[in-house]
C-alpha cells in the first residue's frame, strides 16, 4: 500500500469522522496517556458489563494516525468480551512489531493498519490507543 492509499483509504476517514469520540458516562475506567515525543494524547473511557467491554469512547488530539487508529479500535472492540479485546490488541502490537502478519479473520479491516509498519517512527502513534486499552483492561482486572 502506498502512503497515499494508507492515508486516503484507511486513516483519513476515521480521522475526519472519528467513531465513539467523546466522554463516556458513567464509566468504570478512565485513562490518559500520551506519546511524549510527538505530543499525541488519548483519554480512554471503558464501561464493563460483567466480563464484556460494554462500551468504549475516547477523547484525544494528535496526528491522524494516532487518532484514526484509536477510532478504529473503539469500533472494533466495543461490545466484545474483555478477553477478546485484549487478544486483538496483542495481535495488533505483534503485527506492528513485524512479528505477525495480521490475521484478517481476527482483525478484519484493522489489517490495513499494517501499512504503518513501513514508517517506523509512526508505529508509536498507531499503538497509542491500543496500549492505553491494554492498560485499561489491566486496571479493571479484566485482562
Amino acid at each position: 500500500m502506498s502512503l497515499e492509499d494508507l492515508y486516503k483509504e484507511v486513516i483519513l476517514d476515521h480521522y475526519r469522522s472519528p467513531r465513539n469520540k467523546g466522554r463516556l458516562d458513567p464509566h468504570d475506567v478512565r485513562l490518559e496517556r500520551n506519546n511524549p515525543l510527538c505530543g499525541d494524547e488519548i483519554e480512554l473511557f471503558l464501561r464493563f458489563d460483567g466480563d464484556d467491554l460494554e462500551a468504549i469512547a475516547f477523547e484525544g488530539k494528535g496526528c491522524s494516525i494516532s487518532q484514526a487508529s484509536a477510532s478504529m479500535m473503539t469500533e472494533k472492540v466495543a461490545g466484545l468480551p474483555a478477553k477478546q479485546a485484549r487478544a486483538i490488541a496483542e495481535s495488533i502490537k505483534a503485527m506492528m512489531a513485524g512479528e505477525e502478519d495480521g490475521d484478517p479473520d481476527v482483525l478484519g479491516d484493522l489489517v490495513s493498519l499494517k501499512g504503518v509498519v513501513k514508517y517506523p517512527v509512526r508505529i508509536k502513534c498507531a499503538l497509542l490507543g491500543w496500549n492505553t486499552l491494554l492498560e485499561g483492561l489491566e486496571e479493571a482486572g479484566r485482562a
Binding site: L3, E4, Y7, K8, L12, L37, C38, G39, D40, E41, K61, G62, C63, S64, I65, Y119, V121, R122, C125
Partner: protein
C-alpha cells in the same frame, strides 16, 4: 553582503565572494546518495544536525590513520602529533569565537554538556537559596532543564523573560526581571524554533549591571551567524560541532578566563588533576581542570576542520545566502496557507522556518514530505514551554544551511501542496 536576486529565476547567482550553494553541495558526500531508492535528498533539518563536508570526514580519518594516540600523555612522536592536533583545535576554536586566550576554551560533547558543566561546576558553588536565575521563554530544554534542576537543588528561583507576539524578546522587561538577587542570565543567541536572533549584548549589559553572569546558548548562532564573545560580552558560551558541519560528540564551553579560574572542577579523573593522594587531590590549571579522562580527541580535531571549512567560505557569505533563502522560503511556505511562527522578516531571524498547515498535523506532514525525499522536523523541537506559549502542541520546521538551494524550498512547497490535497 547580499546575494543578487534574479527576478523570476529559480536560483540565486553566486554571491560576492563566489558563494554558490550548488558548488558547496558537492563538498558533502551525503548528497551523492539518493533516499527512498531514487529521490534527491532535500535536507531541511540542519537546525537539528548539519551534514558533513568531505574535508571534515577526511580530517577525522587522517587523525585515526596517522596521529592516533592519547593527547598530553605520550612522550613519543605519535603522542606529540595527537597533542598538537588537539591543542591546535583549541586555538582554532578560540579564534572562531574571538576569545582572548585558548585557556577559555573547554572541550565538551556539545551544547548540552557545556551548559550542564556550568550548572554543576559554577552553579553549585555560586547559586544559593534566595538567588535567582533568569531564562528566556524561548529556550531549548538544554538551556532550561539544567536551571530547573539547579534551582531545585539550591532553593534558588527560576524566572522567565517573556517574548512578544512576533517571537521577539521583551527586553523592555529586563529592568524588572534582573535584580540584585540574579546570579545568572541564560539566553539563546538564536532560537531553534522561531529563528529569532536575540540582542544578547543588551541582555548581558543588564545582567552585568547587577553583577550577574551571562550564559549564551550559541548552538544555532555559532554555525549560522558566527559569534564574538568580546562583542557579546558574555561570561559563558556553548555550542556543538555537529551543527556546524563537524562531527557528533564534540562541542565547546567558552568561559571568561577569570570566571573559569575561580571555578571548581566538574568531573574527577585523569588529566584534570595536579597531585593526587589517597584521600585528596589538587587540580590542574584551566582549561584542563575541566577535561577529565581521555577526551573526544578525533572529534575535536574534526570540529576544527569544520570551523576551518565554514570560515574559509565566510560566515558573512553563509549568512547572506541563508538570509536570501529564508526570505524566499518565508514567502513560499506562506503561499501554501501555512501559519508561520516567529519574526516576520529574514533580517530578524536565522534560516529556521517553523510552521503549521491548517488541518494537517505536523507529524503527518513530515511523513508525507519524506516520501518525496524532503527532510523536515516535526514536534516540539525540545521547546515545550515555547509550544505552550504559541498555543500549539507541535510544529513542522524547515531549517536551512549553506548547502541548501531554492530547489530545496521548491521541493518542500510542492510536497506541502500535495499533502494539502490529500487532506482536503
Amino acid at each position: 553582503m547580499q546575494l543578487s536576486e534574479q527576478p523570476g529565476g529559480r536560483r540565486a547567482a553566486p554571491g560576492p565572494g563566489g558563494f554558490d550553494p550548488e558548488v558547496v553541495r558537492k563538498d558533502f558526500p551525503v548528497f551523492e546518495h539518493p533516499v527512498h531508492e531514487d529521490k534527491r535528498l532535500v535536507y531541511l533539518d540542519s537546525a537539528a544536525t548539519a551534514q558533513k563536508p568531505r574535508a571534515v570526514i577526511e580530517r577525522v580519518v587522517r587523525f585515526y590513520e596517522t596521529e592516533n594516540a592519547n593527547a598530553h600523555r605520550g612522550i613519543y612522536e605519535l603522542g606529540e602529533r595527537a597533542t598538537k592536533a588537539y591543542e591546535d583545535a583549541r586555538e582554532t576554536c578560540a579564534r572562531f569565537v574571538n576569545a582572548a586566550t585558548p585557556r577559555s576554551i573547554v572541550f565538551t560533547r556539545g551544547t548540552t554538556e557545556s551548559i550542564n558543566l556550568v550548572r554543576y561546576a559554577w552553579g553549585r558553588a555560586n547559586v544559593h537559596e534566595g538567588d535567582e536565575i533568569l531564562v528566556t521563554e524561548m529556550e531549548h530544554h538544554s538551556n532550561l532543564v539544567p536551571w530547573q534542576m539547579l534551582c531545585g537543588e539550591t532553593g534558588a528561583t527560576l524566572r522567565h523573560l517573556p517574548i512578544d507576539e512576533r517571537g521577539l524578546l521583551r527586553t523592555d522587561l529586563l529592568d524588572g526581571l534582573v535584580t540584585e538577587r540574579t546570579r545568572l542570565v541564560c539566553v539563546s543567541h538564536m532560537s531553534n524554533v522561531l529563528g529569532t536572533i536575540n540582542p544578547v549584548r543588551e541582555v548581558a549589559d543588564a545582567a552585568h549591571a547587577v553583577g550577574a553572569l551571562v550564559l549564551v546558548d550559541a548552538a544555532q548562532s555559532a554555525p549560522h551567524l558566527g559569534v564574538d564573545v568580546a562583542a557579546l560580552d558574555c561570561d559563558f558560551l556553548a555550542f556543538s560541532a555537529h551543527k556546524l558541519c563537524g562531527p557528533t560528540g564534540a562541542g565547546v564551553l567558552y568561559g571568561r578566563e577569570s570566571v573559569l579560574e575561580d571555578m571548581p572542577p566538574f568531573h574527577g579523573g585523569g588529566e584534570m588533576i595536579r597531585e593526587v593522594w589517597s584521600d585528596r587531590a589538587t587540580y590542574n590549571e584551566i582549561p584542563y581542570r575541566f577535561e577529565a579522562g581521555t577526551m573526544n580527541i578525533a572529534q575535536v580535531v574534526g570540529m576544527a576542520a569544520a570551523i576551518d571549512y565554514i570560515t574559509a567560505l565566510g560566515l558573512d557569505a553563509i549568512r547572506a545566502h541563508e538570509r536570501e533563502l529564508t526570505a524566499y522560503a518565508l514567502d513560499a511556505v506562506a503561499s501554501t496557507g501555512a501559519e508561520i511562527y516567529g519574526p516576520p522578516t529574514a533580517e530578524q531571524r536565522g534560516g529556521v522556518v517553523a510552521f503549521n498547515l491548517p488541518e494537517v498535523h505536523p507529524h503527518d506532514l513530515a511523513t508525507i514530505v519524506d516520501e518525496d525525499g524532503v527532510c523536515i522536523r516535526a514536534g516540539h523541537h525540545c521547546a515545550q514551554p515555547l509550544m505552550r506559549r504559541l498555543g500549539v502542541p507541535a510544529t513542522a520546521r524547515a531549517s536551512m544551511y549553506l548547502y541548501n538551494t531554492r530547489d530545496d524550498v521548491d521541493a518542500l512547497v510542492a510536497s506541502l501542496e500535495q499533502a494539502k490535497g490529500w487532506f482536503s
